[in-house]
């Protein structure tokens, strides 16, 4: 589904990703962990097409298509979804209208008619329950005045509404209390299938107790320095990242 080959990415002339490789197949959940500044959020942003990031080398293929050729909205329409680490508040834009517009623009991209009101409302109802979203929250302006947890739940709500093929969760667990974390994890577990894939970017192992990954990768200094299964996450929790930094130095030399 997703193939990242020797990816180099800079922002404002500073190289952040220095040869990233990753292969994600349908049905898989990949966790990317790593210390601050290792390039985790850059990876998420560059996949979604954030304009400030410049790809200086390598390639990203999504279902065989070169992602660099696609604008953010085209990537979304092709099935890529980024759950933002810091969802943006947009006063004056209703959550529901925003979702309806997004659903319909993605449908238009696929040559489909706009969704009929009944199906949309049905889907809305179903997905609201999934993330324990009240009508009051759903009807408010987009993220306006939402608590940290509400914003993150809104990201998962949008994820559920848009049904992407590949979802990237950028530190969705940060700032969540245990109840919100459970809701988010439950949502993801309900949505996962053999046809979609998730990349979960996180600092901590905590979320991975609820969403069990197939693979865990450690990102350090712009590269994946170690990959393994869910046990690797536990090991990281125990030992921290320092021992990997030393290993990375060895690899680099």
């Amino acid at each position: 589904m997703l193939t990242i080959k020797n990816l180099h990415v800079s922002i404002e002339g500073k190289e952040i990703l220095k040869g990233l490789n990753l292969e994600v197949k349908p049905g898989e959940i990949h966790a990317i962990m790593g210390p601050n500044g290792s390039g985790k959020s850059t990876t998420a942003s560059v996949l979604a097409g954030k304009p400030e990031y410049e790809v200086t080398g390598g390639e990203i293929l999504f279902e065989g298509k070169d992602l660099q050729e696609l604008a953010p909205e085209e990537r979304a329409a092709e099935g890529i979804f980024l759950a933002f680490q810091y969802p943006v508040e947009i006063p004056g834009v209703s959550n529901i209208n925003f979702l309806k517009t997004a659903v319909n623009e993605i449908r238009a991209h696929k040559g489909l008619e706009p969704i009929d009101a009944k199906s949309f409302l049905q889907r809305l109802k179903e997905k609201k329950e999934l993330v324990h979203f009240s009508n009051e929250l759903a009807n408010r302006s987009l993220n306006e005045g939402f608590s940290g947890g509400e914003k993150k739940r809104n990201e998962i709500f949008q994820l559920a509404m848009l049904e992407p093929k590949l979802a990237i969760l950028d530190e969705t667990d940060s700032g969540l209390d245990i109840d919100a974390l459970r809701i988010v994890a439950e949502g993801v577990n309900t949505l996962r299938s053999n046809n979609n894939a998730f990349i979960i970017i996180t600092h901590y192992q905590r979320l991975l107790e609820y969403i069990v990954p197939d693979f865990v990768h450690v990102l350090y200094n712009g590269r994946i320095v170690k990959s393994g299964t869910k046990e690797l996450a536990l090991e990281l929790e125990e030992k921290g990242y320092d021992w990997l930094k030393e290993e990375a130095v060895v690899i680099n030399h």
């Binding site: 979604a48 097409g49 954030k50 304009p51 604008a71 953010p72 909205e73 990537r75 979304a76 329409a77 979804f81 980024l82 933002f84 969802p87 943006v88 947009i90 006063p91 004056g92 834009v93 925003f98 517009t101 997004a102 623009e105 993605i106 991209h109 302006s141 949008q158 848009l162």
Partner: protein
């Protein structure tokens, strides 16, 4: 040389009258007023760039493009467009007065079904409403060149009066067409009197004349809002590109009164200039000035507001927003003067601007003069583009860049739309906004 000749000719619309006797009015008050207007205009002349109030609006440039004669009778052309254009609001939503070149055309207008509403042309006022006729000119600031000019030259004007303690249930909708029938330069005049305790809604739409030669509209409106009276006043601009529209409103507010002005300008008119002057003259009066402009092509939209807090305990609240694209220019000058007696004044002002092109220009100038010591005043102005993070957030959900900008533009204007109390007018404005926002990018 030819250009020079043209500009001389164009200027004659503004100077010819100076050495001729004025229209001999039936009424001595009006005649005296015209003399005053003439004298004032003699002093000021046509303002140029040296005048602080016209620094960014080169009015002579617009005058120079005026044709040598009127357009003749185009009324048929406008009427041919059908009733829909003539009456933009639904019949049941308001009483529509069609006004062509400042003249009320009763045959094209709705009948006045409101008992408490009087519509009186000046020429009838001498017998029907002499007291009101005597008040014309009372609130107009004659030191403003174009107000003085209008005062010297207005033909028959219109008095609108809402009787004391009455609720005018339907909005009164003035639908203005500037056709430049006799002359490309027109000087419409209005006097609005909202009686003590009364409540009313006045909508003024400036419609496209679809003409090819330039017209120059120079309106003056005086509004008196009586004790504890309320007036909602709307300006809606959808003129065509050959139109220049100067609007001077002088509003006088008595104690406990409430005046709200909503000013919407859309792409079209080459120049829209508003001077909205509010005098808060009775304690407890409140004024709200809201505006939204979408300026496009080579348009110039200039809003000059002035609020005089003359007595204690009044409130003023001002919010103007702009989206400028293409080569458009937008000017906002918001003057608030808190006079020495006006203790416990609350005055808020904000001006937010979004530029969608590198070639658009925005001038914004808050001007607070405070001579009282116990006041709460604030002002703020912003200038920028659509928020990049917000744009990325929307596009990352599959929303095309163009749609995302439309969404953000709607969000930007929502703050003003929400303040429109009348549901039908809100719907009408929302419709206009949706139509114009299609061409945002």
């Amino acid at each position: 040389m030819e250009e020079f000749e043209n500009s001389k000719l164009a200027e004659s619309y503004f100077t010819d009258f100076l050495d001729k006797p004025l229209q001999n009015d039936e009424n001595p008050h009006l005649l005296q007023l015209r003399e005053e207007g003439k004298l004032s205009f003699l002093k000021t002349g046509i303002p140029d760039k040296k005048s602080e109030e016209w620094k960014y609006t080169p009015i002579r440039k617009y005058i120079d493009t005026l044709p040598v004669a009127g357009n003749g009778n185009l009324a048929g052309h406008i009427i041919g467009n059908g009733k829909k254009t003539l009456k933009p609001l639904k019949e049941e939503d308001g009483i529509t007065l069609v006004i062509i070149d400042g003249q009320w055309i009763p045959s094209l207008s709705s009948p006045n079904t409101e008992e408490n509403l009087e519509i009186i042309p000046f020429h009838e006022a001498e017998t029907n409403a002499p007291a009101l006729l005597g008040r014309i000119g009372k609130y107009a600031a004659m030191d403003m060149a174009f107000t003085a000019l209008n005062t010297a030259l207005f033909p028959d004007g219109l008095i609108i009066r809402v009787k004391e303690n009455s609720q005018s249930s339907k909005p009164l909708h003035l639908v203005h067409y500037t056709l430049g029938t006799d002359s490309p330069v027109q000087h419409p005049r209005l006097y609005v009197d909202i009686g003590k305790g009364a409540s009313a809604t006045l909508v003024e739409s400036f419609m496209a004349n679809n003409g090819s030669s330039v017209t120059f509209n120079n309106s003056v409106t005086e509004i008196a809002v009586g004790e504890n009276a309320r007036l909602q006043h709307y300006y809606i601009h959808t003129e065509s590109s050959s139109e220049v529209n100067l609007q001077h409103a002088h509003i006088h507010q008595e104690a406990g009164s409430n005046y709200s002005n909503f000013n919407f300008a859309f792409p079209g008119a080459s120049l829209i200039r508003h001077d909205v002057h509010v005098g808060l003259s009775g304690s407890g009066a409140a004024t709200n000035l809201y505006g939204f402009s979408l300026a496009a092509a080579g348009q110039l939209i200039d809003n000059h507001t002035r609020i005089d807090h003359l007595v204690p305990d009044c409130t003023s609240n001002e919010l103007y927003k702009t989206i400028a694209k293409d080569e458009a220019t937008v000017v906002f000058n918001g003057k608030v003067i808190v006079h020495p007696d006006a203790q416990r004044t609350s005055g808020f002002q904000r001006n937010n601007n979004i530029m969608l092109s590198d070639t658009a220009t925005i001038y914004t100038k808050p001007q607070l003069e405070i001579y009282a010591d116990d006041v709460k005043c604030s002002h703020g102005a912003t200038l920028g583009q659509f928020d990049r993070d917000a744009l990325f957030y929307l596009t990352a959900r599959g929303i095309r860049d163009k749609t995302a900008k439309e969404i953000l533009a709607h969000a930007f204007v929502t703050e003003i739309i929400e303040k429109i109390p009348d549901e039908h007018i809100r719907e009408y404005i929302n419709g206009l906004i949706a139509d114009y926002f299609i061409f945002l990018s």
